[in-house]
Amino acid sequence: MPSSSIAADGSPLGDLLRQLRSWSLVALPILFFLIFFAGPLLYLFVVSLLEPSQTELYGTNVTLQNYAKVLGDEFYLRIIQRTLLVGALVTGIALLIAYPVAMAIARMTPRWRIIAMIALMFPLMLSNVVRAYGWIAVLGRQGVVNTVLTQAEIIDAPLALLYSIEAVVLGLMTILLPYMIISIANSLTGLDRSYAEAAQSLGAGPLRTFIHVTWPLSSPGVAAGMQLVFFLTLSAYVTIALLGGPRFSLLVSMVYRSAMAFQWTFSAALAFVLLGVALGVGALIMLVLRPGRVQGRG
């Protein structure tokens, strides 16, 4: 091939050309990610450090006042607290339910395991607004629960089940539960059964086999599942707005509302506080579960 004759020889120049040509194709996706992902995020961070402005998008002076406003105001601190509470409840309850379900899936024959996995993947493909609407249909004033309870004459008037922290936690937990189950089930299915057998051969009963072997070996799946569920909870503005009602606010609601009110610098700071919460809790999960152990890194 004449076009490749330059690159064909083993000279350093030929090597360089070959390298350049292989990088040239990946340049497009990398550039795209730099311009539309890394760039805007960096820009947003810079904006979070600038003064607000009435006329422009942001002022020119560098300041920490946006962060001070978030972290110095008891109103916002309470919202951060509530965000952490909702995140912890959603993640914790999802873990408690997902682990036994994942164990049941890991025990299934491959055929049934695939069916279970499809049943878990399918709802994840639906828009969250549709799944949140499902909970409105179940918990609403004319919803399934109230209808059943009224007809069974357990209650006289419909209960206000929606627009509560319980509705938000239940909705988010069930919407995100498949992620947790899939993540744990994958790490349990991939576990060689000889680990559990080795523990038993050394005298560990079912409970101690679980504590000392199965649980630590599944920790990568547990950690990944917990992080994913917690991160998605932080972002789930629509679900929170629909099930919590207009007066229920978490961090994400404040990010959205301040942006819609054109408080760009403030909403940028809120966004990075939210990111800080995500990274902090993510790191805490890693610290407690130490999934790296499984790869033999202390």
Partner: protein, 356 residues
């Protein structure tokens, strides 16, 4: 070691999976201190037998005893044994020292003693320097030794080995065979070893059981099963054999004359005239000479030089006969393809097989 004490006993044990019988009516006694091997091709039921002793499978019929205690219905973690797994199954989230101490921890051995014994066990396999490493950081051979230390540190009544050398390369495997054998001799731990490698079984064992299709075909000392195979399967699975078929033409005083079609052979065998027999002769027991030296006439078809030995393939009236010659002198190399030769064997080298 007190002879006569039986550490492992299987009594008419059978195991079926979905109507397929993996183990059929197996009975074995393993006395204290013995290195006992289950040898057979994959799917012969040897691993299932081991897992029955371990308690990971439950027999469909029969009874299992460890040190006299009936364990048939006892869960694995309450049986007095330990095991080295095929892939070692070292816990990846624990250090070597923690891996070795795991069984002691489960037995609630107090901390300081646990640490001391784990250290000693690692020293026993010459890995005391690697106590704080994780399994991934170790070579296959090192992992194998830690797995062995982990199993031995609890001083089990019986040590179960599930093809523990299968994952190692050939040279390392041969080193580990010797090391394992030495260690077992020194500690005197009763050992049940599963392997598909006949050389490994011959090298390591006090006694070998050869399994096929869930049934034990023959049990005996290595020399016994190699030299006196009872069935064609044993004769061909353990090493290489030449097989001959013939009909007895004369029989007297425990010897029989057999017509092979291309000649007559005399065997040590109590048979009746007219009986069809099949017997085996090991290739290294076959002698090769010039036509004039007497024996069955044949032609050299192929010569393969193998270093220690030379394999010579003969064509004897359409039957293939293999001869192994030691390369002690250059005699073996004197033959050429196409040479007319005569072969023979000592009478006791021919082993009459059960018709099966």
């Amino acid at each position: 070691m007190a002879a006569g004490e039986i550490d492992v006993r299987l009594e008419n044990v059978s195991k079926s999976f979905d109507r397929v019988e993996a183990v059929k009516d197996v009975s074995v006694d393993i006395p204290r201190g013995q290195f006992f091997s289950l040898l057979g091709p994959s799917g012969c039921g040897k691993t299932t037998t081991l897992r029955l002793v371990a308690g990971f499978e439950h027999p469909s019929a029969g009874a299992i005893y460890i040190r006299g205690a009936a364990v048939t219905r006892v869960p694995p973690y309450r049986r007095d044994y330990s095991m080295v797994f095929q892939n070692f199954a070292l816990f990846p989230h624990l250090t070597m020292a923690e891996n070795v101490a795991f069984g002691l921890r489960m037995r609630r051995v107090p901390g300081p003693e646990r640490a001391r014994r784990a250290r000693e066990a690692l020293a026993m396999v010459k890995l005391e320097g690697l106590a704080e490493r994780y399994p991934r950081q170790l070579s296959g051979g090192q992992q194998q030794r830690v797995a062995l230390a982990r199993a031995l540190v609890v001083q089990p009544a019986v040590l179960l080995l599930d093809e523990p050398l299968g994952a190692l390369d050939k040279k390392l495997r041969e080193e580990m065979q010797v090391e394992l054998r030495e260690l077992q001799h020194r500690l005197g731990t009763t050992t049940l070893f599963v392997t598909h490698d006949q050389e490994e079984a011959l090298t390591m064992s006090d006694r070998i059981a050869i399994m096929r299709d869930g049934v034990i075909e023959q049990i005996g000392q290595p020399r016994e099963v190699y030299e006196r195979p009872r069935t064609e399967f044993v004769a061909s699975f353990l090493g290489v054999s030449n097989f001959f078929d013939g009909r007895i033409t004369a029989a007297a005083n425990g010897s029989a004359t057999v017509d092979l079609g291309f000649g007559q052979a005399v065997l040590s065998h109590r048979g009746t005239v007219g009986e069809a027999v099949r017997f085996a002769v090991r290739p290294e027991k076959v002698r090769l000479g010039q036509i004039s030296t007497g024996g069955f006439a044949a032609q050299v078809r192929e010569i393969v030089y193998r270093g220690v030995t030379t394999h010579i393939y003969l064509d004897c009236h359409g039957n293939e006969v293999i001869v192994f010659l030691q390369n002690a002198s250059s005699d073996a190399l004197a033959w050429r393809i196409g040479d007319a030769v005569a072969f023979s064997w000592e009478r006791d080298s021919a082993v009459v097989l059960d018709r099966g």
